[in-house]
């Protein structure tokens, strides 16, 4: 597959260089580690630090979400690979304001080990208290009874948003962790893949799908989903995605949600809005109130084709945090 790159082995470094140069008022790369990026803004003493991270290739996730109201720092891994403990540890030290740091990351074996090791080191070497929130929003990745085995995908956006807003509000580490865990418990995502992505180093598609096929529940890195079948019209796909979410997390009439229709990389805004149109219709028919909507590329998989639908069920606290202002290079909310 064609890509606009220089050296496949330097894509992450060159992306970070470009990113830091483009947004000097928002972010800076740490001298201690070129894979640690932190906010360039002054943060308040006593504010809980919010640290996110994961593999590259999901932009705007995760580095695009460093900024006011979201994360204070990010550790950037190789493509689709968790960052090692060092950049996590360095970013932790840089963003700690004496109130501890919360790590928000997806439920993947690599992230669990690397963030886990970094948290131990932060406590041992730097005496920084660390809270960990592991995102598990992907309905297709494990049955309901085994929610703790589910992967984290686009729903991580909401969990980060809640953690960021809660810390901005002055919550303690314990309270930020509680709110972020609640956001994770209230969030479900279902995705559909239409076409694969390819790693810059191999150039080969990460999985195979025929021209007329789609795959429901496909993972964020091309992990196979729950069902391969003929490509359906957008309305039917949206029906299926929403139906699976609601079967997993019932939402009653009169309840409130925020909706995220997320593109996986190469899907057009046109298609995403066509999907959103149907999602809105279904929720409306069920008497579910859509409090706020997000449509666009929030968490991608390189140039993968397809989209995901995320619902977060809102109570008063989560509503406040989803509504809070944010100012990041790749995401601004007023």
């Amino acid at each position: 597959m064609k890509k606009l790159i220089n050296n496949p082995n330097r894509v992450v470094e060159e992306m970070i260089e470009g990113y830091a140069k483009a947004h000097p008022h928002h972010v800076r790369v740490l001298e201690e580690n070129g894979r640690s990026i932190v906010t360039a803004k002054e943060t308040k003493e006593g504010k809980v630090g919010v640290l996110i991270g994961g593999g590259s290739g999901h932009e705007p996730a995760f580095m695009g979400y460093v900024g006011t109201g979201m994360a204070d720092g990010v550790a950037v891994g190789n493509i689709f690979a968790s960052p090692p403990p060092d950049p996590i540890l360095e970013a932790t030290k840089a963003i700690d304001k004496g109130a501890g740091v919360i790590y928000v990351y997806g439920n993947y074996a690599g992230d669990l080990m690397n963030f886990g090791m970094a948290a131990e080191l932060a406590e041992l070497e730097a005496d920084i208290q660390v809270g960990k929130v592991i995102v598990t929003d992907d309905v297709a990745s494990a049955p309901k009874e085994e929610k703790e085995k589910r992967r984290g995908i686009a729903g991580e956006f909401f969990v980060t948003k809640v953690a960021g807003a809660a810390s901005e509000k002055g919550y303690s580490l314990e309270e930020v962790v509680r709110a972020a865990n609640k956001a994770n418990d209230h969030t479900r995502t279902m995705g559909v893949g239409l076409s694969p992505c390819s790693l810059p180093q191999t150039g080969k598609p990460s999985f195979e799908l025929e021209e007329n096929e789609m795959e429901i529940g496909l993972g964020h890195h091309g992990e196979p989903g729950v069902e391969k079948g003929d490509l359906q019209p957008a309305d039917q796909v949206a029906d299926r995605l929403v139906q699976d979410i609601l079967a997993d997390m019932p939402i009653g009439e009169g309840e409130k949600v925020a909706v995220l229709v997320n593109g996986l990389g190469s899907t057009t805004k046109m298609e995403l809005y066509i999907v959103y149109r149907r999602v809105e219709l279904i929720l409306n028919e069920k008497g579910i109130t859509i409090h706020r909507s997000f449509v666009g590329d929030y968490s991608t998989s390189l140039e993968m084709g397809g989209c995901s639908v995320t619902l977060i069920k809102l109570d008063d606290e989560l509503t406040e945090f989803v509504d809070a202002a944010a100012d990041c290079p790749m995401y601004v909310q007023r």
Binding site: N78, S82, P85, Y108, G110, L199, K204, E223, P224
Partner: protein, 216 residues
Amino acid sequence: MSFSAKELKAFLQSVVETIEENKDYLSELDRKLGDGDHGVTMSIGWQAVQEKLDNEWKDENDCGKISISAGRTFLSAVGSTVGPLYATGFLRGGKEVQGKSELTGEDLNNFWTAFIEGIKERGQAEVGDKTMIDTLQPALDTLKQEYARSGIFAEAFSKAVASGKEGMESTKDLLSKKGRSSRLGERSLGNQDPGATSSYLILKAFESVMTSVQTA
């Protein structure tokens, strides 16, 4: 038998080379089960080790230091899942031989025991989960048994590698239970696990260095 820092570096060098040779093969195996980057990830990590071999470790004779540094170097270069796993192996193995420039059969036995048990502890996988443990555990079992029986490390290690190979091949008939591929269910059948394969390549590289030590 004489196994010194020179041989340890030859082993690491041999892993670098075997990983480069098998880079595409490992990624291809991974494409069927995961995101297809195992060869790439291993290559990034071992190229970082190569850099240390060419520079920092040139005059280093402490086997423990070299192994621990190899673990840290690999981890810092890759992160991922394999980063903490193989790093833990080299860190724990290195701890066993700290301060030693010459290793006896007993030292090497301790090194590999700590190496494999460290990976097991870090990854929390069991035999049958379709992971690198399917190669490493049978290899360790054989190593312990054969070394206790004969006291000849090189011989015991060769038998351990053979058990590891069988273990690696057994992953073709296993369902994935760990990591990203665990969702595949039946679709994971028929594919050999890439982690089990890279573990075998590492054992095999060590065996080849042992053989050259024996015949030297």
